[in-house]
């Protein structure tokens, strides 16, 4: 993976207005809206901050991966296969792009939380909400890559929405997990978005929190499974054309 490659990828995404809206403006605005609606006390403000940070990181990962479909269809992927860039290098570059762009919401939403909404955390808490959530977003960059390799330029949008909605709703981002019945909470436990949120949530509240070690373990397992799926799909796809 080369620096020029990564730099071009990031520059290209930054040119896309959709990216700026979805992963930069949307989580911040939504956070301000939610706080206005429900953020009566500092604890709720902090939990909402975690939820919207997680949402932004998730969206950034998913969104960059799905751009793969466009490149595949345009034949750019084939053109790159005629360079020394390996398939692994290509995929790693895409995932790294998603992760780099996920930095935007991971920095911005907590910043707004602290400066505008006055959320106060100890440094360990801030570290979990920022760095922790950022690292936990890796499975979503991989899911995005997988969608990008399965879908076409036209179908990746709806597929991404179809993945993102249940992840956000049942994973405890848009519906607070405290208000979920047990059966829904059981479903939530399967989703990586639940564990993503838990990483940050543990930094702001002890309510319904899980141990960081367990969060990390589940997310690492997701990362491994998704990596294998992405690589297998890439091999299959490139053998076919």
């Amino acid at each position: 993976m080369s620096v020029t490659y990564l730099a071009l990828e990031i520059r290209r995404v930054l040119r896309s207005p959709r990216f700026m809206i979805f992963t930069v403006a949307f989580p911040v605005l939504l956070y301000l809206l939610y706080v206005g609606l429900w953020g009566k006390d500092p604890a709720t403000k902090a939990v909402l901050m975690v939820n919207l940070t997680s949402f932004g990181a998730m969206a950034a990962g998913l969104f960059t991966g799905t751009r793969v479909a466009i490149e595949r269809q345009a034949g750019w992927q084939r053109q790159l296969r005629l360079t020394p860039l390996s398939g692994g290098g290509y995929l790693a570059g895409k995932a790294a792009t998603g992760m780099t762009l996920a930095l935007a919401p991971v920095i911005l939403v907590p910043l707004v939380g602290k400066v505008v909404e006055g959320v106060g955390l100890d440094s360990a808490g801030w570290l979990r909400v920022t760095l922790g959530v950022w690292l936990a977003a890796l499975p979503f960059a991989l899911i995005g890559l997988l969608i990008g390799q399965i879908g076409t330029a036209d179908s990746t949008q709806p597929i991404t929405q179809l993945v993102m909605l249940p992840m956000a709703l049942i994973g405890g981002i848009f519906i607070p997990i405290d208000s979920m019945p047990q059966w829904l909470l059981n479903i939530a436990h399967v989703l990586p978005s639940y564990w993503l949120t838990q990483v940050g949530r543990g930094g702001v509240t002890t309510d319904l929190s899980t141990s960081l070690g367990r969060d990390a373990l589940v997310l690492a397992a997701w990362t491994v499974v998704l990596s294998v799926a992405v690589i297998r799909r890439y091999r299959k796809d490139s053998a076919r054309v």
Partner: protein, 294 residues
């Protein structure tokens, strides 16, 4: 570059059905054939993009993927292959950065005749400009073998001519080029050698003149005072003839021999014209045949 016994099937369809082809360094080879003849599949296997079902490919003594990794092959693929949201300079620059010994990007763009388009984004390019950008991307690794799949489709006559001018500047440096094309006059004008494919096989392979000859040689016309039909029929290498008064028209497998014999017998023959059956004629007759000519 060597292809041996190459085969590729897609389900029941034999896209490439036993292709043997060796190209020496410095040759400029045109790959001709109707749609579905297996040109693109052959090119894909040569580039290592498609794995053959049987047979072997070596490029400069290496596997295609190794030759690609060493930057020895540059390729201009059919259609697409560009980004809408990146500039020409960025695309060529990226590909250059991935290779070990690339040309300077500005140099590659200049050679492709698009030195002034470096800041233009992919979605703002015309069809002909896109082709040139693809050419620049193929050139930028400074490859020894250039593979072009339909390089001048979507170009108008003027830009096609300009494209081939920049192409010739490149081949003059002794590089090897293989190009697939629909435009017979391009093959006629720019290739040292023509390889004709039909239904997954090579049906003719040789210089432009040889391939033409395979399809029936040349036509000789002349005004011959005192000519008789038996005299014309008796000329060597004649396949067909017409006599109208003193005017004759003869199809010949070897027009040189026919002409010499004609002049020996009728020294007063004049207004002599010898016309080649165009490559198009050869192309049509060779690819329409049920049985391969070779």
């Amino acid at each position: 570059m060597n292809l041996a016994g190459l085969r590729k099937h897609y389900g029941e369809v034999r896209a490439v059905d036993g292709v043997d082809l060796t190209i020496a360094p410095g040759e400029v080879v045109a790959l001709l054939g109707p749609n579905g003849a297996g040109k693109s599949t052959t090119v894909d296997m040569l580039l290592g993009l498609t794995r053959p079902d049987a047979g072997a490919v070596t490029v400069f003594g290496r596997k295609p993927s190794d030759a690609v990794a060493h930057g020895a092959i540059g390729a201009m693929l059919q259609g697409g292959a560009l980004l809408d949201d990146a500039t020409v300079g960025e695309m060529a620059g990226l590909v250059a950065s991935l290779h070990r010994k690339p040309l300077p990007v500005a140099e590659a763009l200049r050679r492709a005749g698009i030195g002034d388009l470096a800041d233009r984004r992919g979605n703002k390019l015309s069809g002909g400009q896109k082709q040139r950008v693809r050419f620049a991307v193929a050139l930028v690794s400074d490859p020894d073998l250039l593979v072009l799949d339909e390089p001048t489709s979507a170009m108008d006559v003027g830009s096609r001519r300009e494209f081939w001018r920049s192409m010739q500047a490149y081949t003059d440096t002794g590089r090897t080029v293989l190009f697939a094309t629909h435009y017979l006059e391009e093959a006629e004008e720019y290739a040292d050698r023509v390889v004709l494919m039909r239904a997954g096989r090579i049906v003719a392979d040789g210089s432009v003149a040889q391939v033409r000859a395979l399809a029936g040689g040349r036509t000789l016309r002349a005004v011959v005072p005192g000519v008789t039909e038996p005299a014309v029929a008796g000329l060597p290498c004649v396949t067909e003839y017409q006599v109208r008064g003193t005017r004759i028209a003869v199809s010949s497998r070897d027009s040189d021999k026919t002409l010499r014999a004609l002049l020996d017998a009728f020294p007063t023959a004049h207004d002599i014209e010898i016309a080649a059956i165009g490559l198009e004629g050869a192309f049509l007759s060779l690819t329409a045949d049920e049985e391969p000519v070779r």
